[in-house]
């Protein structure tokens, strides 16, 4: 992903500023009826991108945060007892397949394997969903249906890796953190004052350049926004950055001291 960033700000459109060619790639995958695998660090804007694209396509968005107890039934639907009878209730994936829409499976590798496997027939030439538990009903996906998953490889343990047979069914779109000028705009748009935004983006950039060795993750745009909001509610740069950036990033005493020294260095005059 590189080249000219895309910015759209029509009224009602969810706020999103592109950091590369992710919007064009997403659009081409959608037009090709191919599922999308989003990759990128925590808090870089994956959820916002999906919200933005759903609005652009004019389709509903069904977001599912995957977890280790999530089974296929949570996606497909299940029987519920009504007046002594069992009645089928569609899950979010089934709804999106039936009526059109984006089904976004956030952190898909966390889900149980039956949930991952349930999407296989939707992600090849068949574009079909099998509801085995509903008497074997087969749904052919509407043209407006799109499947999007997020997946962070370095972030997961070796035990939780997406199967290569699943990955080969996806178009892989990578997102990174925005360039400084774009990130400043994002902070200001989120309610951070301009001066704070400049200082916080500088602090974020130095942390991301790896000046503190050993951090499991760097400061996301989300943490910069949080610090900025705390400043808008009366806390100092130092206190806000400590509470919203240093604290969430690490409990290690030495790493913490390093971060606090950086905060001292980068606080606005």
């Amino acid at each position: 992903m590189s080249a000219a960033p895309l910015s759209e700000a029509k009224s009602n459109t969810p706020f999103y500023i592109a950091t590369g060619r992710e919007v064009e790639a997403f659009q081409a995958a959608y037009n090709s009826c191919l599922p999308v695998m989003l990759q990128g660090p925590t808090g870089c804007g994956k959820t916002r991108l999906v919200e933005y694209m759903a609005h652009r396509f004019g389709v509903p968005l069904y977001t599912v945060s995957c977890h280790e107890d999530m089974t296929a039934s949570d996606l497909l639907g299940r029987y519920v007892l009504v007046d002594g009878n069992t009645e089928w209730v569609d899950g979010p994936l089934t709804k999106a397949v039936r009526d059109g829409g984006i089904c976004y499976l956030d952190e898909i590798v966390e889900a149980r394997q039956d949930a991952t496997v349930a999407i296989h027939s939707l992600t090849d030439h068949r574009r079909e969903l099998f509801l085995e538990r509903k008497g074997g009903e087969v749904l052919r996906a509407s043209k407006d249906f799109s499947l999007v998953v997020s997946y962070n490889p370095g972030y997961q343990s070796v035990l939780k890796d997406l199967k290569t047979s699943t990955r080969q069914r996806m178009v892989a779109i990578e997102l990174g953190f925005p360039e400084p000028d774009i990130e400043e705009k994002i902070l200001i748009e989120s309610g951070v004052e301009a001066d704070s935004a400049v200082a916080l983006v500088r602090l974020g950039a130095v942390i991301r350049r790896g000046s503190i060795t050993g951090l499991r993750e760097v400061a996301s745009t989300r943490t910069l926004i949080a610090a900025g909001k705390l400043m808008a509610h009366g806390l100092s740069f130092k206190e806000a950055a400590t509470l919203a950036i240093a604290g969430p990033l690490t409990d290690d005493i030495e790493l913490r001291a390093g971060l606090e020294a950086l905060i001292d260095t980068y606080q606005p005059a």
Copy 2:
């Protein structure tokens, strides 16, 4: 599998171009009432072969994507509560046994062992299905019933190996990737433009020859089709191949760089 490839293109027939003698082998197993074990890499066309054969035999196809939470009940059927009573609902295997048809268990080793064992009596001289939970009902398989499983040995962990007592009940048919001229036809048939198809098949062939050491899987025909579709929707060869081939194949930085260099080398003039 070798020798003259078989191509059938009657109207309504699912699109399938044989890469060896898999169609004859499948037909002989079907005529002998023997179950089939399909082997071959991700995305080489196992699902399409089964669809094609089901159409050729004029029987319905029941596809089940196996997973680690799948139990015998998902195959055989279960009781559902209706008006305060429990009512039996056939599973896909039971339907195929009762009415004739192919039951295709995709990636059978993923299923729980009770599901694997449930097929044993169907795969020897008995050709019977025991519905123990349905009062011990015994179904004798219709002549049109055929059981097909897919299984990729190298692909599975040692913990998930098909028992030899199960394997010895099957006829093993191996599929590989198609020869270049056939693969080009398949891409064009799937909506890829002719020029793109030639370039993508060349790229796929060099990846499959093992020029990048360390990849867990090579580029399947499916990924080449995906890249071709993205090109048809306006992306460049380089961007399409990166999104649909390099990204899905690996997250490793060095392997990724190797793939991108290959993409640069093989992009059409």
Copy 3:
């Protein structure tokens, strides 16, 4: 097991040709009201022997393929909801105990331990079945009841070993592969042509003599029959033996090459 094989071929009698004194041993155990533990390699005819003996005794046969999710309830029975009440439904073991018959537990070590323990009181001087979940009902086994289990020691992992306190309750009958002349008869009886039968039995014998080191299992009579059937439906000896014998036996490239060389050597002129 040695000495004169026994062959019975009355009309309606299931097809079985004895390979030793297994029929006499089974008969004596049945007359002594002792349970039987069948041992022997995959596909050597254990199921057929039990079918044959059940017909000989004139009693029904209840076959249960054991698996790791099988619990005592699958053998004994369970309550099912009917019109808002729970109603007891006998399992296959309970049926055989109540009405007489052979209950055959195939690969008993695969079952959960509660299933194995449920048979203890049936296999000593008590010959009783406790239905604890059915209000403590105690069934005394009919004189015609017989319990048969199959168990392959080398085949199981150390974690799945039959407890010695269970084994000491059984009469152990061992089965092997039949002698060549008998196996030829079995193949011909199963629909294989005479010439194919001779060649396939020779191939099976050389594989069983251990000419390929490293195979987890050798070629069973069942795989020879499968290859013979494929030949009857038009495939060559080489193609049939590859599909039905070499493929099912191994995925290892070297072992596979060894098997294919043997197939070349032993193909009929």
Copy 4:
């Protein structure tokens, strides 16, 4: 346990010949309202002793074969759905506590821990059973109630050890194999012919003396009886001992050869 064996053979009394002072010890524990822990090898007569003592005390016997899926509910009772209501059904332990009788928990360490813990309040000065799931009902044990468990320490894995806090609540009675003259009587009483009994008891004794190193268990009285019954139904000493003693004791080829050599040596002239 030593001294004069006790033999009782009144009509209707279950057949039991004491091998030591186990009957007196059991009687004293019963009179003292103390629970009993029976120890001894497979097939030495633990079940028969409990049956005999229950008859002697004139109380019913509730036998429970413990297993790893057995929970407290299997002992105490559970709610069952009747006409839309839940109705409590006593388990075997609750029945014995309420109405008097011996509750015999065979191989108690196999049970889940909640089952083991459920007996604690029954085995100290309280002699009470708490039915927590039945609204906290507390049952005081009838004077005729006795709890008996069997437990073989060497036989279990380290993971399945009876807690010392449970053991200290029991009177430990150890059983061994009977002396030759007593074992002959037992075999004859069980339907074995006198000559066979003498030969089989001699064979059993030599195996128990440890002449075959490496056997996990020695030949129990039960296996000698089984071999004797097979002889009574027409099999030779050699065939019967192989089927009922050597086969059940081991699958190891060398140990098996050793046992068969012993059988040859000890076969009657």
Copy 5:
């Protein structure tokens, strides 16, 4: 715990002879509304102390033997189906909180973690119980409510340790075995004859002094009482001590021989 033992023997009062200042400590914790953690070896009288204190306070006692399948619902209560509706039934902890009384959780570390966590809000300044599954009902504990747990640190595995955040909510009262003169009184009170009591207490003391190295636990007062009762029912000192002390303490042959030698040495003249 040291100083003058406390003995109370009013009619109806449960029998308890204090071995230290445990009664005063318990009383002060009760008056301070602080929960109590009882520590001490198997069979030293923890249950009897709690029974005694409940009687002294004039409140009911709810005893729960914890185990690894015990969940919060077993303590708090659950819904039961009555006439097609779900009806809430209080668990023992909820009853004690609502109506006053001691809830005694025996071997609390055995319980599942949700059960341990359920008591947290009861054991700090809040003294409240949250019934989340009952629509979030909050019960404020009655002044008469007291929570008591038992916990033996050396006895548990490292995996089953009480969390320090739980421990810091408790007053820790330690119990030991009684002094010889007190233990003799306890034995006599329990129905042991005076002569037997003297001999058994001497035997117990020498075992507790560690004369047999390797025993996992020493002889509790409970085992001495059991041996004394067997003597009262006609067994000799040697036989009774072997059955009730040596057998329950160990299965190890050498440790057993050592114990039997001690029994010989300490048997009364």
Copy 6:
């Protein structure tokens, strides 16, 4: 956290004395609609701070003690059977989101992962709660909703670590033990006499300075209060401190001896 402590003692206000700037930080996070992660040792006052802030904001407080069996349904709600129909009952998180209020998840890492993931959409710009099991209902959080979690990093095992993607959504507020003069006030406010308070705070301080190496946790304010209460009910300093501080802190004999020596040293004259 440092600077001037905040003390509020209006009538009805829960008792809380600030130890740093935690109240201001909490207020700014609340005004910024950012979730709060509280960190600090056992018994330092986390629960009291949340109670105090809820009262200050004038909103209800929903406290949930997390544990390893807690699932998303315990937070979100579930269907309960009423008159044969299933009826939805809101969980504590759903109630707080719907009606406003603080939802406090105590020791959140103990909860199952689906519970942790359920809060993700509440903790970013969306502030929405998905009730997937309730037909996909989406709740937008009221302005008064605030999510607070507690988390002690050093305290948890490596297996139970809060995901960095969850942490980056929180404002991290750290609490420590209060300074001596403040802690004395807290003890006196809790009913401890002034002299005892001085002595106990001195004892607590020396333990916290690490004079006993190897303790897993130091003495919390809570244990000091407990010891003070026992003294108010008649126990000596030494006995009270042993029961409420030394006993709960360790079972190790040497550490225990060290603590008792400290207690001797620091007992008031």
